[in-house]
Subunit: 139 residues, 2 copies
């Protein structure tokens, strides 16, 4: 989707910087005020989950260094791991080329998935079947 | 978000399977008929991009083994690499625990990003700045 601020950044060189405050004004939230945020384990590359952030969740994540999403079902800030202890310490936050997706490199404590699996992507297409490829971990 | 079909799958054991056809009936597309699809390089774990699929794009991706998205700006199927040659061969397609996000493990040819960077997540928060952390590749 067209995002002139981010399009202009395509021409930047390695290590060029712009003001984060200014960039945050141009991050593209959807009609519900949300942006998809992918969580990836920083050292193994494992994609853990995808959830959503609103503006406040994104700011809190950056300020506290602990990942905070927006729960669409509860319509409230979702401080990941607040009840389960399965927190995500933010290692690095990246934005994509058109400013409408976030990638959070994190250090995950315990299981990322509410099913207690390490990550949420535990169903894999195999031919005409969908197979379970991981099971809950024991803490 | 509540998705009883996928919730029931949480109890499955390793290598249990269900019919893909049945699962596809319960995949959760949003109000625009779209589901987020993360593309990850299958062997390095690099998160390449995130885009959207509608039902037809998902079926074509599975049938042809080449990733096809839905372009929201063009409102048309987006056969990744059709014009650039930067195709994504599907290695594995996974679904998450509530059936509302896809993870495509792919073998990417050339750059995944339209800016000709290897991946789209080339902007990183560093303190109060947003820094460019990769540059276009030369094919």
């Amino acid at each position: 989707m067209d995002n002139p601020f981010f399009t202009a950044l395509e021409k930047t060189a390695l290590n060029d910087t712009v003001s984060l405050e200014q960039a945050l004004e141009h991050v593209r939230f959807d009609d519900n005020g949300l942006i998809p945020a992918i969580a990836q384990q920083h050292d193994t590359g494992e994609v853990l989950m995808m959830a959503w952030m609103n503006h406040d969740a994104l700011l809190e994540t950056l300020q506290k260094g602990q990942v905070c999403y927006w729960s669409r079902s509860r319509q409230a800030l979702w401080r990941k791991g607040e009840s389960s202890g399965h927190t995500q310490k933010l290692v690095s936050l990246r934005m994509d080329c058109d400013g409408d997706t976030l990638l959070c490199l994190v250090d995950q404590t315990g299981a990322a998935c509410h099913s207690n699996r390490k990550n949420c992507f535990y169903l894999e297409v195999k031919g005409d079947q969908l197979a379970t490829i991981s099971v809950p971990i024991t803490d």
